[in-house]
């Protein structure tokens, strides 16, 4: 009986988003504080008036690297309109040293934080997906995106442009 109820609950949870509309004002984003690659504290609330693309990546994730290079171009195009990429490195102690050289190699100019304790991951990306993006518009979570291939680029740019309107 318990098992049947659990199954029913699971099915229900799967059905709900499919039956609901896919647009909304979004839920309030939980604040966090972590150190960036220059050891300075960065808070999500520092960007409370902007459209933040919280991008989860790691140096061992090949699609992440491709996505970050493209995000740099989009960031340069829309930063004057209040768009910011906040790149969250999920690199642990084994690969953390590679983060800064990677940022330098690809000349990425947006803020990069290192979440070695998976604090932000726990709040926004509990499946530990990479690459994974969360769009936070003026303090509210409005969209999420998992995975990246270059064919996703037009959709990503359109999403950002629409949210900045």
């Amino acid at each position: 009986m318990i098992v049947r109820r659990l199954l029913a609950t699971s099915v229900l949870l799967l059905l709900v988003p499919g039956l609901c509309a896919t647009a909304g004002a979004g839920s309030k984003a939980t604040n966090f504080t972590v150190r960036d690659i220059n050891s300075k504290h960065v808070r999500l609330s520092d960007f409370s008036t902007k459209l933040v693309l919280l991008n989860f990546w790691a140096t061992w994730c090949k699609p992440c690297m491709v996505e970050l290079k493209h995000l740099e171009k989009i960031y340069q195009k829309y930063r004057s309109r209040g768009f910011v990429v906040l790149a969250v490195s999920m690199d642990g102690s084994e690969t953390q040293a590679k983060v800064k050289p990677f940022i330098r190699r690809y000349k990425l100019s947006f803020p990069v934080v290192v979440d070695s304790e998976t604090h932000i991951v726990k709040l926004y990306n509990p499946k530990h997906s990479a690459p994974f993006s969360v769009y936070i518009n003026r303090g509210r979570v409005v969209k999420q995106r998992e995975g990246f291939q270059v064919s996703d680029l037009p959709a990503i740019e359109k999403e950002i442009a629409d949210l900045l309107k």
Binding site: S10, L14, V16, G26, T33, K69, P101, Q144, E146
Partner: protein, 539 residues
């Protein structure tokens, strides 16, 4: 259809009606005049496991329904969360009490107060101190390894000051999520703390201590007193921007003391000299289009691991992850008594005709003197990255030879020649094709036998953004002893995205298992043969 019975049907409709007006990402509702937010991530999997062609029959021909539901409920700065796992088995080949166990259990339940200046977490949490040499308990997805610390953690972070204090026990989950084994882990208490300060926002200095109580039943079966312990002290410094951001430096030194039956067997106070020490340093620099990275490690008899026997020997759970300096998938025999260095140089050649070029060269050198070993390792490898059409096409090739010499006879004991290739091409608007290929030619010389074999993985992926992803995989595994014929494994994946983060994934065919190594941790991953349907929902 019981769900849609007269009594439950309206309840279902009502619930959907209540939930639907909420935004698609996060559900907001008001209770006791306070605004709550509910975030859910659910992964529901049905898998049919056929004969996976390994030598065991007790992991064939069974069905599994697995549901992992992450729930987070927020109210202002307060957050209550957890993951609820459900394992349901059918047709399992035999009754066992350590595998194929039906269970529904809350995992990783926590309560958090997240203020701008501090966080307090009660329940399950991950933790890392400094460079992860003294303590690092995090999830390693690639190996399905996921354990936590259960207890309390306090973190303060403001005005350059960082303070962390935690107390609890390792391994509360007692379940290996990759295989479904119920582990024989015992709770192992620990307390730890770290203090760090960023002087002038230029120099970060930190110090930490970790005290791990050991409760090992030992060979007699009688529990020993908790005077047994591991204690680790560490100090570190980071200077991220030197000489107008041209140079970055980081270093950490840790000391470990192990006491068993009241006797110091490792570290200060013992008779092992300088053992129980771990030192790590890194430097990176940017000189125009040249990027440099240098890393150094010196570990002498430094190891922190689960004391209880597990089903996963000889790859026990590690409670720390000291940097290995090695390639991600290198089969690392030992990282406890070893010194070595890794150098990497990247040069951005820029636009050359229709393409943009970036080349990288790496060299790793290590000397391993762990018990029973006297090895020297050379690991040179290089890569080239070519992009075209403003990044719409990309090719990356990496190759190298990792040789391990036995210093007793100067012969090559292990050799891995690896070749990895990643290629992606945008075909038209919203259509792209990706190819990944890896080939590992391995050899080992032990005692009187010399074995050579190949391992190969290939995946071809097509994506029609944002809806559909199709993948075809081929894997090949040769038997080192050449007793069995080489095995080929064919598989396919189809994924349909309902939204950009909610999808249904169907997988069929086979995947080879074996010893898989990632980030310095290795473990046996069972092969898979059968079919799997998975739905991932986030809202």
């Amino acid at each position: 259809m019981e769900l849609l019975s007269r009594t439950r049907g309206p309840a279902l409709v009502t619930l959907i009606a209540v939930l639907c007006p909420a935004p698609a990402w996060g559900l907001e509702f008001t209770l006791f005049q306070r605004g709550f937010t509910l975030d859910l991530t659910d992964t529901l999997t049905y898998a049919y496991n056929a004969d996976n062609r390994n030598t065991f029959e007790d992991d064939d021909e069974y069905h599994l329904v697995l549901n992992k539901l992450d729930i987070n409920l927020s109210l202002g700065d307060l957050r209550l969360g957890g993951r609820f796992d459900m394992y349901l088995y059918a047709g399992e080949p035999e009754e066992r009490d350590d595998r194929y166990v039906n269970r529904f259990a809350p995992q990783q339940v926590y309560f958090m107060v997240a203020r701008p200046e501090f966080d307090v977490t009660m329940g399950d949490f991950y933790a890392t101190l400094g460079k992860g040499i003294a303590l690092s308990v995090v999830k390693i997805d690639e190996l399905g390894q996921d354990t936590t610390i259960r207890g309390g953690k306090f973190t303060y972070h403001d005005h350059g000051l960082g303070v962390t204090f935690l107390a609890g026990q390792f391994n509360p989950l007692a379940l290996d999520s990759a295989t479904g084994w119920v582990a024989a882990w015992d709770p192992e208490p620990l307390v730890a703390g770290r203090l760090e300060y960023n002087f002038f926002e230029k120099v970060l200095v930190g110090a930490h201590v970790m005290y791990h109580f050991i409760d090992d039943p030992g060979s007699s079966g009688a529990e020993v007193a908790r005077t047994d312990h591991d204690v680790v002290w560490g100090v570190g410094v980071e200077i991220p921007e030197l000489f107008a951001s041209v140079l970055s430096l980081a270093a950490e030194v840790d000391l470990q003391q192990s006491v068993v039956d009241g006797v110091v067997i490792r570290g200060p106070g013992g008779d092992g000299g300088l053992d129980g020490i771990a030192a790590y340093a890194s430097a990176s620099s940017q000189l125009g289009d040249l990027t440099l990275l240098a890393e150094y490690k010196y570990y002498d008899n430094f190891e922190l691991r689960a004391r209880s026997g597990t089903k996963f020997e000889p790859y026990p759970l590690l409670y720390h992850h000291p940097p290995t300096l090695e390639r991600l998938t290198a089969d690392i025999k030992d990282n406890t008594s070893i010194w070595g260095a890794h150098l990497r140089a990247d040069y951005n050649l820029g636009q050359r005709g229709p393409v943009e070029l970036l080349v990288a060269a790496n060299y790793g050198y290590f000397e391993d003197w762990a018990e029973g070993s006297d090895l020297t390792i050379h690991d040179p490898f290089g890569s080239i990255e070519v992009t075209w059409q403003e990044g719409k096409g990309k090719l990356e090739v990496e190759s190298g030879v990792r040789r391990t010499y036995d210093n007793d006879n100067d012969k090559v004991k292990f050799q891995d020649i690896h070749l990895e290739l990643n290629m992606e091409q945008s075909l038209a608007t919203r259509h792209s094709l990706k190819l990944t290929f890896s080939l590992l030619q391995r050899s080992r010389a032990e005692f009187i036998s010399e074995d050579e074999w190949k391992e190969m993985d290939l995946a071809l992926t097509y994506k029609w953004s944002p809806h559909l992803l199709l993948a075809f995989t081929v894997e090949r595994q040769e038997d080192p002893r050449e007793v069995r014929e080489p095995e080929n494994y064919f598989g396919g994946v189809a994924r349909y995205y309902i939204t950009t983060s909610t999808y249904i994934n169907v997988r069929g065919g086979q995947n080879r298992g074996g010893i898989k190594c990632y980030l310095g941790t290795c473990r046996y991953v069972p092969p898979f043969s059968g079919a799997e349907v998975q739905a991932v929902v986030r809202y």
